[in-house]
Every structure is written in C-alpha cells, then in structure tokens.
C-alpha cells in the first residue's frame, strides 16, 4: 500500500520569531526554516511501515512556495520514494490545504495519510481532521503508538487525561504526536542523492479549488512582555512575598 505524508516548511523551532512592525505578520526574511517537527515524526512512521512491509511506497507532499522543495529534499533524505510539490505563493489556510491533499489522495490512492498534529507556525491543528472528514476515512489524531493489524490500526492517542486506544480501519488519516517515534537523522550519501531526485510539481490553482482565504487577518501583534521580577534570598522570604501578594 501507498502512504502519503504531508510536510510543511516552517520557521525553525529554535528561532525566536519577531512580529513585523506594521502588524501584518511575522518576519520570515533571513530566518532559518526547516521541516515542521511533527512532520518528521510522520515521515519516520511511514518509513517504519515500509521497513515492516506494511507499506510499499512513501510519497511526500508539500504545499507552498518554491522553497518547499528544500523540505521535500529533506523528505527524500529520510527515505521518501517520491515527492510532490503543490506550488503557491500565497499562504493557504488549513481548509484549502485539506482540499488540495484530498485531490492528491484521489490521484494516488494511498491507504494511509500521515500528517503532523499541527504546524508550529499557525498552530491551527485542523488539516488532518479536515482531510479525514472530506475523504470519509477513519481518523486517528495525536498518535503516540500505531500497531498495524489486518487492514486496521490499533492507535494509541495522547489525551488530556492520559492515553486512549482506538481501532481504526483503513483507509485512515493519522496525525502524529512527538512521542510516536524518534525521527532518523539522514546520512550524508542520502542527503547527496536527495538533491538529484525529481520532484513532481503542480500549480495549486490547477486543481479547480477555491483557495481564497476565509479568515481576514486584522493584525498580528507581539504578546505583552512579562517584566522580570525580583530575586529573593531564601524560601522564607519567598513565602513572605507570596503572602504579601495574597497569593498564598
């Protein structure tokens, strides 16, 4: 079976982002970009499925501008068999992304689509669930373990209260949480080879989907900064201060 993995190019998680002074967004010029961390877990899961002979082919898909090619090259370096870039210069919302991914699923007929639980830029946490609903596939979000058994997956999910296990029959959409696996570090020869592999490119507006944003961004602002407080000498002084503040 084929496995589809969606990967997104985002501002690297180690970067302290800056809000643009005109309030229109976040400064992405000359900022280190990398693959969304949860998407690395998705790719690792797909590769493990292939190594366990559950999957036959791993297809990485990215939707974004030309530079998303870098992210697809990283996917090749981790072991993806093919890469598809859906090119657009505008930032698309999860609803539009899910519609485009549904089109790719229609063309490629995978049995499993794996997405990160959220992208660490927009933090919407929507695309996987939307894709699952659009396709009418089973949904397993926030996965921390996935066991494949006869056309189904016993999927352990991270919940607010602990863990829960559900059984989802294929085809299914999985969204990954960090503890699902440890993504492999690509080896140098694989990185070199990845540079030469062909990327299939389609224009986003060639799919006949309305990609116009539904939400109007009014402004983007930096949160109020917390001022540093005071250093106290010892536990007794701390308790005194907390009592003064009527917190204790």
């Amino acid at each position: 079976m084929k496995v589809l993995v969606a990967v997104k190019r985002v501002v690297d998680y180690n970067v302290r982002i800056r809000v643009k002074s005109d309030g229109t967004g976040v400064d992405k010029d000359n900022v280190v970009m990398s693959m969304n961390p949860f998407d690395e877990n998705s790719l690792e899961e797909a590769m493990q499925m292939k190594e366990a002979d559950v999957a036959s082919e791993v297809i990485a898909v990215s939707i974004g501008d030309e530079k998303s090619e870098d992210t697809l090259r990283s996917a090749f370096a981790m072991g993806a068999d093919r890469a598809i870039l859906i090119k657009t210069d505008v930032e698309l919302e999860p609803l539009a992304i899910a519609k485009l991914l549904a089109k790719v699923v229609e063309q490629e007929s995978p049995q499993v689509a794996i997405l990160g639980k959220q992208a660490i830029d927009d933090d919407s946490n929507q695309t996987g669930q939307m894709l699952s609903a659009m396709l009418g596939w089973s949904q397993g979000t926030f996965a921390s373990n996935a066991e494949h058994v006869d056309g189904a997956i016993n999927l352990t999910r991270e919940t607010d209260a602990g863990l829960e296990t559900i059984k989802i029959t294929l085809p299914a959409v999985i969204t990954t949480d960090l503890r699902l696996n440890t993504p492999r570090l690509p080896k140098l020869p694989a990185i070199m080879k990845a540079k030469k592999k062909p990327i299939e490119t389609h224009e986003a507006d060639s799919f006949g989907i309305d990609l116009a944003p539904r939400l109007e961004v009014v402004s983007v602002a930096a949160p109020a900064e917390r001022a540093a407080g005071i250093i106290v000498a010892n536990a007794a002084e701390l308790v005194e201060k907390l009592k003064e503040a009527e917190a204790l």
């Binding site: 999860p94 609903a133 961004v217 930096a222 540093a228 250093i231």
Partner: protein, 309 residues
C-alpha cells in the same frame, strides 16, 4: 445570534473547560444552547441545565457517542451546526479532535484556540506557540470556534434552569471503535485548572528525585507539571507536560523548579498570575519572566520551603 456550545464531559460530570467556553459564548452574546453528546450522561445534563446563561440543553444519547469518537461527534454536530451563528467547544483534545471535521463538512474555516473575543466575528488567537497574537475576522455564516479555557473565567455553575430537548443520532461511522483508556489517576487537582502548579524540569535529575516536586505539590494542594525535557527523560508522565507541545496552564502561582525556561515551555505557562523560579543557574531565561526567583539548588530550597509553608 444563537450559539451552540458542545460540552466536554466524561458521561459523569462536565469538564471545566466547558464553563470557560460558555464564558466566551456569553461575551459573543446571544441565545446559548449546550449540546451533551454521550451515553447515560443524565448527571451531566443536570449540571448543564444549571449553568448560568444557558437557555436549552440538547441531549444526544447513543453508545456510539460515549467515548468522544471524533467521527461520530463530528457527524452529530455537523447535522445541527447550520442552525446556529456560532458553534464553540473547548480547545482540548476533545474539541480539537472533532471540530475541524465539522468545518470540512460545512466548508467553513475554523478559528482555533481563541484567547479573546473582540466582537461577534473577530477573535484573537495565539500563533507561533503564543509568541504572536493574531486577530482574525471570520466571514463564514456559521463561525466554528475552539476556545482556550485558561483565557476565560468559568461561568457560574448554578443559577440556570435550562429546558432539555432530545436530539436523535443515527449517523454512526463504522470505521472506528474505542478500545481502552489509560487515565493517569491523581488525588491532586487537574493540571489544566489547578490554582497552583508545581513543575519540575531537567535539573530534577531522575524519576526518583521527582518525588521532591510531588511532595511540594501535595503540601500546596497543587497539580504537578513538567517540562518537555523532564518528560522526554522519563522523569514524569507525558500528560504532565506544560508547554507548546503539552498543556497550556495559567494558575495563580506557577513554580518552575529546575526548569531553564525554553521558549517552548514559556508558551505553556507565561500567562500564569505569579511565576516563581527556583534554579541553580542565575542566567536561566526563566528568571526573565519570573516574579520571584531563588538562585539555588532545588534539593536545598524545596525542603526549606516545605518547612516554612
């Protein structure tokens, strides 16, 4: 305006995020209906009827709704969402799981994790783990919204006397089934809603040493939290994790013990009223946001604290 709030519960009682979600609904303003989807959840219905500001409680009772499976809750909510101007639910694992499905079915762009209601169509939501706040206006006819519970004060649990109406459900999704739940049991308050949170980080050193954190939490009747580093090293279970990849908390007092204060951790606790940092490293970034700091070894400071409390 008519607002539907999808309640989160465990078939026995409401989960507190529902009360904060109602607070957001009240700010939007309008007639508020609460949906209780579950199985044999009579006590939850009684609780929902008594909530301040609720005019109607819809009850969908079906075994397929008992365990919060997203496909079934999503189908149910999609079937009635069109009757409302807004549909709100907590931005918890429950809400995040089903709401985007409703959005896909209705062809609506959901507004996730709001922290402020500016007006009936404009909301503020954190992006980049809270390092930026985005104000967005939704032009969809039905606005689908998940609410960050810590950003809104819960409504009163009493005072209401809402009418109850049954809602039929038969659109069961055959592809998914619930198997088991492994809930971390704790005598102490829930991390998301506790008045005091005591968190430990990498510097705690081991799973055994984490007992020091738990001891202080017990003394203060506080919830136990942990940084991602502490969770990854196996010192504490994952559902204790505070941060961008864990839970977002905003207690009255947050104790960050042996936590350096990485951006990812700050995203989960920087809205706390008072932050107390205890760390050996005087240069740890956590001191930049702490109200009170003690530079010292936690194994000296915490026992001292236990004595004077």
């Amino acid at each position: 305006m008519s607002i539907l709030v999808v309640a989160e519960h465990d078939n026995a009682s409401l989960i507190s995020g529902t009360l904060s979600t109602l607070a957001a609904a009240k700010i939007i303003g309008g007639d508020i209906t609460v949906l209780v989807a579950g199985e044999n959840a009579g006590s939850v219905v009684t609780e929902a009827q008594a909530l301040e500001g609720v005019s109607k409680v819809l009850v969908a009772d079906n075994a397929a709704l008992a365990d919060g499976l997203a496909e079934n809750i999503g189908n149910l909510v999609s079937s009635i969402a069109g009757n409302y101007s807004h549909v709100l639910t907590p931005a918890s694992n429950f809400g995040k799981n089903f709401m985007p499905r409703v959005a896909a079915k209705l062809d609506v762009m959901q507004v996730s994790d709001i922290v402020e209601v500016v007006s009936a169509d404009t909301f503020v939501r954190p992006i980049y783990a809270g390092n930026a706040l985005m104000t967005v206006k939704s032009n969809d006819t039905v606005k689908l919204i998940t609410v960050r519970s810590t950003a809104f004060d819960a409504v009163e649990a009493t005072g209401g006397s809402a009418a109850v109406e049954d809602l039929a459900f038969s659109d069961v999704f055959a592809g998914s089934s619930f198997i088991s739940r492994d809930v971390t049991l704790s005598e102490r308050p829930e991390l998301g809603t506790a008045k005091i949170v005591v968190s430990g980080g990498r510097g705690v050193g081991s799973k055994e040493n984490f007992a020091v954190i738990e001891g202080l939490a017990e003394k203060l009747n506080a919830a136990v939290g942990a940084s991602r580093a502490a969770v990854d090293l196996g010192y504490a279970p994952n559902d204790c994790q505070v941060g961008q990849t864990g839970k977002v908390v905003a207690p009255e007092i947050y104790f960050a013990i042996a936590i350096s204060g990485a951006i990812q951790h700050q995203a989960g606790m920087s809205e706390s009223k008072i932050i107390v940092a205890i760390n050996k490293d005087a240069d740890a970034p956590i001191f930049n946001i702490a109200d009170y700091g003690i530079v010292g070894d936690l194994f000296d400071v915490v026992p001292e604290l236990m004595e004077v409390l």
